[in-house]
């Protein structure tokens, strides 16, 4: 063994001794010289653009805790300072905050935000700061590896969670919006638009690949829904709000649909989808949701459908009034009746009321819901076979059962046709889901569906 040691020592010595003669430096520079040149190049990319950058940061989130994108303005100075605004909340969009940054090697050439600024709000492990997961926040980064440099943008990937950050050169338009603190307006505008037009179709041709989009401004995610072989599909994608558009974290592709951004044209009161090449197509508001009303109430979903007094007419209105009067006689004020899917084949009807001392209560009754071959919907009184699990009679439904018996009988003694009714209902254009007694065209109930 020792022999080998000596020989290897000998060989090493020979190699070491002559090392200098064999050195070939790439471009004639030492590694650290080349590294520092690279870092200087990356840094100058950020510093040299004097209007600053618009940054979209997409935290990694988790499947249990999805999180969409946040928009920042960042201006880098040569002495390692960065000024920031953010659309995190209404304060961070108004007050500029300065902190330190550096361009370093941390595994790879990285942009690090070295003292606290708005970008750390997403990464902060304290729930008090961001309402995120204790110990993890939004699973977001503040050390970002450089991935790609384009003429007017730089793409980064977070070193810890692989969250995504895209820096785009700020334009005069961006700076004006920042000055006017209007960067937060888009989310409200889109929310308002979506309230007016709840059923938004992104597919360019009606009937082909019907796909709808829903916006969640709280989580900053949007959700696409479409049907495949009759089965509803959904995909949620993070967005960041930038000026007049939502910039998606990833391209959404489904058949002939390809969406990189969604733009709101306020003057035309119109949403557009923008594909990768920048081509725009109008997003179509339609009267009806993607699912038929029959599907809507028979597919396993938790969205509650609400029956309100104002939306009823004819015999349905009489039924509602009778139920209301009956509840009143029992000392309770009926607020609305709601239908929610409970399990794969049952629904809950909630009679929501206010008692004599002003507190709100729910009274739940559970029904087996079936859709027959003719598309007719039936409700059967559900009696749970589980002991202690009799959902048919819980949360005060015992207390109000007698007052809602007419309504209960109406549901259980009829077969219904389910469809949508759109039009001028009670003075406003809206879409309601309708359950019409199959044998009587004038007897129906209408449910809010958006």
């Amino acid at each position: 063994m020792k022999k080998y040691l000596y020989y290897s020592l000998l060989i090493t010595a020979m190699l070491l001794g002559c090392k200098k003669n064999n050195i070939e430096l790439i471009d004639g520079k030492t590694p650290e010289a080349r590294v520092n040149e690279t870092l200087a190049y990356y840094k100058s990319t950020l510093v040299d653009y004097d209007k600053g950058w618009i940054a979209c940061v997409y935290p990694a989130g988790t499947s249990n805790y999805p999180r969409g994108g946040y928009t920042f303005y960042m201006k880098f100075t040569p002495d390692g300072k960065v000024d920031m605004y953010s659309d995190f909340n209404n304060n961070t969009i108004v007050a500029k905050k300065q902190s330190a940054y550096s361009v370093q090697i941390t595994g790879r050439p990285s942009l690090n935000f070295d003292t606290y600024n708005y970008i750390h709000l997403l990464a902060d492990p304290s729930t008090d700061v961001n309402g995120g997961e204790a110990g993890r926040g939004y699973y977001s980064d503040f050390e970002f590896g450089f991935k790609k440099i384009y003429a007017d943008s730089v793409v980064f990937e977070g070193n810890l969670y692989k969250s995504k950050m895209v820096l785009r050169k700020a334009t005069a338009q961006d700076l004006t919006a920042l000055e006017q603190h209007s960067y937060v307006n888009l989310k409200n505008d889109i929310q308002n638009y979506a309230l007016l037009y709840p059923f938004l179709y992104v597919n360019p041709v009606q009937g082909t690949n019907n796909t709808t989009v829903l916006f969640n401004m709280a989580t900053r995610m949007l959700t696409f829904n479409w049907k495949e072989n009759g089965v509803m599909q959904e995909k949620s994608i993070a967005f960041a709000a930038v000026l007049d558009r939502l910039v998606l974290k990833n391209l959404f592709i489904n058949g002939d649909i390809s969406i990189a951004e969604i733009r709101l044209d306020k003057s035309k009161n119109q949403l557009f989808l923008v594909d990768k090449a920048g081509k725009e197509l109008a997003i179509r508001p339609e009267n009806n949701p993607l699912e038929s009303f029959g599907e809507r109430i028979s597919i396993y979903r938790f969205t509650a459908l609400r029956l309100q007094k104002d939306n009823q007419a004819g015999n349905g209105a009489t039924l509602y009034n009778n139920t209301e009067t009956s509840m009143n006689n029992g000392g309770r004020k009926l607020q609305y009746i709601e239908i929610t899917r409970r399990a794969i084949d049952t629904v809950i009807v909630n009679y929501r009321y206010i008692n004599s001392s002003g507190s709100g209560y729910n009274a739940y009754k559970e029904y087996i819901l079936k859709v027959n071959n003719n598309g007719q919907v039936t409700f059967t009184d559900f009696v749970s076979k589980q002991t202690g699990g009799n959902y048919n009679n819980y949360n005060n439904s015992g207390a109000v059962g007698a007052y809602v018996s007419e309504f209960h009988n109406f549901l259980t003694q009829n077969a219904f046709d389910a469809d949508y009714e759109t039009g001028n209902i009670n003075g406003g254009v809206q879409t309601l889901g309708r359950l019409k007694v199959s044998t009587n065209n004038n007897y129906f109930l209408r449910w809010n569906v958006n």
Binding site: G80, S99, T115, H120
Partner: protein
């Protein structure tokens, strides 16, 4: 054999040296190594850096690192850097309540040698898998990391003490990493009472009974030692004495034994008068707030709990005289046997709820009387019955109702305690009060 091999070894080694040196260039390699620097370009010193240099680094030989450096911290956890606005306030706290008091009680040599050479300031806490958070750590007697500094507010006494406790706790570790305390310290509490990571599942109150100054002290003896130092120095003797009082006979004896050993440790191994150091820090700190300023709606304490059987809650002559009537009236109301009374300020602003918790034949229950708080002076107040139509319970409890609505009270701690306090009738402070555990 051996010898031959040795000779051969010498031969090979000389050959190695000869060959290795053979082609040596005359460059100074050491300089090149020192030049290796992948940290990007130079960051010019800021006003904060200048302040730290003048006030901390030059006089105390301590470097404060506040720029983010992942290599100093866990590589896999979500931890965020400090806000620059917090750097100088934390450093001032370090200076005023740690370095200066120690400097005054020791020597120039001590203060430049033993305090950690480096402090790392971190904005967020470090979250651990057992659900606890790390607020400080000490490494190898040289480096202390302080976490959760972004929520530091030097104007808030609780916040100040929290950070200061971490500073002194971690320095306690540095001291014992340099000079270990007597092994006898570890046997004051039973070995089985040290729990490792499971300390998080136990309360402070349990810890006191076993002779520990906090739940965290039960982690292991070194933590016990550091917690004792930090609580004695930062929270002060009055606070410690309160803990001892709550600890029961066995717990109190252990806490006193540990306290004595800490004082001795400082004297024998470091030649420091611990008591002088303690009073120096205590007199530098902002005064303790009055109970009246921290008991109330949405304050540090929101209620106090009167328990007749708890001997640490003193019973005034007058209130003790009323207790039998209070209890028998409650007993007359559906056979409710009084367990305790909560005096709660937190349900509605400007209102006091007096909630009587009782055991009755089919379980336990509570009923409350509601009072509006009517200030008389800035320190005294009266209680006005509110919503007197609230029913039979109101009518069933005339003694307590009348006692509370017919006196003028002020809020005080019970004696030296910082954990017990309540209502004292103005002008009869010695004989007429009702107090309870602050919570």
């Amino acid at each position: 054999m051996k010898k031959i091999e040795k000779n051969r070894a010498i031969l090979y080694l000389s050959l190695f040296i000869l060959l290795a040196l053979g082609c040596k260039k005359t460059e100074n390699l050491e300089d090149q190594v020192n030049k290796m620097d992948f940290s990007g370009d130079y960051r010019p010193p800021t006003a904060i850096d200048q302040w730290l240099l003048e006030n901390i680094t030059n006089p105390y030989n301590i470097k404060i690192k506040y720029y983010w450096d992942r290599s100093e911290l866990s590589l896999t956890k979500s931890i965020t850097p400090i806000d620059e606005n917090k750097v100088i306030p934390v450093a001032q706290t370090l200076l005023k309540y740690f370095l200066q008091p120690y400097r005054s009680e020791t020597t120039d040599y001590f203060i430049k040698t033993y305090p950690p050479k480096q402090y790392i300031f971190v904005g967020s806490a470090e979250y651990n898998s057992n659900g606890s958070v790390t607020v400080g750590s000490a490494d190898a007697g040289k480096k202390i990391t302080l976490f959760r500094l972004n929520s530091f507010n030097p104007d808030n006494r609780d916040s100040l003490l929290r950070v200061l406790k971490t500073i002194h706790h971690e320095f306690g570790h540095i001291l014992h990493q340099n000079a270990i305390y007597s092994p006898d310290y570890k046997s004051i509490s039973a070995p089985a009472d040290y729990l490792g990571d499971e300390w998080v599942d136990h309360t402070d109150a349990e810890a006191y009974q076993l002779g520990f100054v906090s739940a965290y002290a039960r982690n292991q003896p070194n933590e016990d030692f550091a917690e004792m130092i930090a609580i004695l120095l930062v929270y002060g003797q009055r606070y410690f004495d309160n803990i001892v009082e709550m600890a029961g006979v066995a717990g109190a004896a252990k806490l006193r034994a540990k306290e004595t050993m800490i004082v001795e440790y400082y004297r024998q191994l470091w030649n420091i008068d611990f008591r002088a150091l303690q009073s120096r820090i205590q007199s530098a700190l902002p005064p303790e707030p009055t109970l009246a300023s921290i008991l109330g709606y949405h304050k540090k304490f929101v209620e106090f709990k009167f328990v007749e059987s708890d001997a640490s809650i003193k019973k005034s002559t007058v209130f003790a005289g009323l207790l039998p009537a209070i209890k028998s009236e409650l007993l007359g109301y559906g056979s409710r046997a009084l367990d305790y009374i909560l005096f709660n300020f937190d349900e509605i602003q400007g209102e006091l709820r007096v909630r009587m918790y009782a055991t009755y034949p089919s379980g336990s229950t509570n009923n409350s009387l509601r009072f509006k708080i009517i200030p008389v002076t800035d320190k005294t107040f009266k209680l006005q019955l509110y919503d007197p139509a609230s029913g039979s319970f109101f009518n069933a409890t005339p003694t307590l109702r009348n006692y509370l609505s017919s006196n003028t009270f002020k809020i005080e701690y019970q004696g030296a305690s910082t954990l017990i306090g309540g209502f004292y009738v103005v002008g009869q402070e010695q004989t007429n009060f009702v107090t309870g555990i602050l919570q």
